[in-house]
């Protein structure tokens, strides 16, 4: 029943992509935060979260994502998201997350806009 979160890190010259798989709850959110903070400590300032393999989020997990965004903004960086399901997209808008992070329909569009593809 438990959908354990898996996070794959893809480092690029321009930043990093986190591919999440599973439920973003308190445990999943913390797992994403751990990876994101490691990357920030390593100097990454452009981070893309690809949620293609995540179908469920909850409000606790989203509050952790907001904390990650705030920490990145403090460091002068930027976090973006791509490949959200319609319901997760709607949930992000309700929770105000969309006010602080850009949401892209596809990873291709995100990479192009964020300068990863160059």
């Amino acid at each position: 029943m438990t959908e354990e979160m898996r996070v794959a890190v893809d480092r690029r010259p321009a930043g990093a992509i986190l591919h999440t798989k599973g439920y973003i709850n308190n445990v999943g959110g913390e797992e994403i935060a751990n990876r994101a903070y490691e990357l920030m400590d390593d100097g990454v300032r452009t981070l893309l979260l690809n949620l293609k393999e995540t179908k469920i989020v909850n409000s606790i997990g989203i509050s952790i994502l907001i904390e990650i965004i705030e920490k990145m903004i403090e460091k002068g960086g930027k976090i973006s998201f791509c490949c959200l399901t319609p319901v997760i997209h709607k949930t992000f808008q309700i929770m105000g997350l969309a006010n602080y992070a850009t949401i892209y329909d596809s990873e291709e569009a995100a990479l192009k806009d964020l300068g990863f593809a160059a």
Partner: protein, 145 residues
């Protein structure tokens, strides 16, 4: 307008981590049997998850159980409707305080947005809460008339 009872399900679930997923999947299976679209089912699933988390995190109930009832009907010829009741026997909460809290901004208010999500994802939400417990009744239609 006619409503015919087609499917009913009752569950008693322990308050353990991620039990909300089991509740959401059970309701989703019932809704799928009635022909509800996957996007509407996903919205309902997210609302059920928030209601179960609120019960688990905040009810303080002694029996550590969540009581769920799902009823699937059709409104009109082909408009599935799912009624969901999620009950705990906890201490209840101040609904007006919870609604006020979500209007505020700032780090202290990042949490506690579950009711807002339930109301956004469902077509009808009614919360009855007292010192004897809380029942959340939510309704999801395929097509809201």
């Amino acid at each position: 307008m006619t409503m015919t009872a087609e499917r009913q399900m009752e569950l008693t679930l322990p308050m353990v981590p991620d039990i909300e997923i089991a509740a959401a999947r059970a309701a989703g299976n019932l809704a799928r049997e009635l022909g509800m679209s996957s996007e509407r089912i996903d919205e309902m699933a997210h609302a059920i998850i928030e209601a179960c988390i609120n019960a688990r995190e905040h009810s303080g109930c002694a029996d550590q159980r969540i009581y769920l009832r799902f009823v699937g009907t059709f409104q009109g010829d082909s408009n599935p409707r799912i009624d969901v009741w999620i009950t705990d026997h906890g201490r209840g909460f101040d609904l007006s305080e919870a609604r006020t809290r979500r209007q505020k901004l700032g780090p202290a208010y990042k949490r506690g947005r579950g009711i807002q999500l339930m109301e956004a994802h469902m077509d009808e939400v009614e919360i009855i809460t007292s010192v004897d417990g809380t029942t959340v009744h939510m309704v999801k239609y395929e097509k809201k008339s």
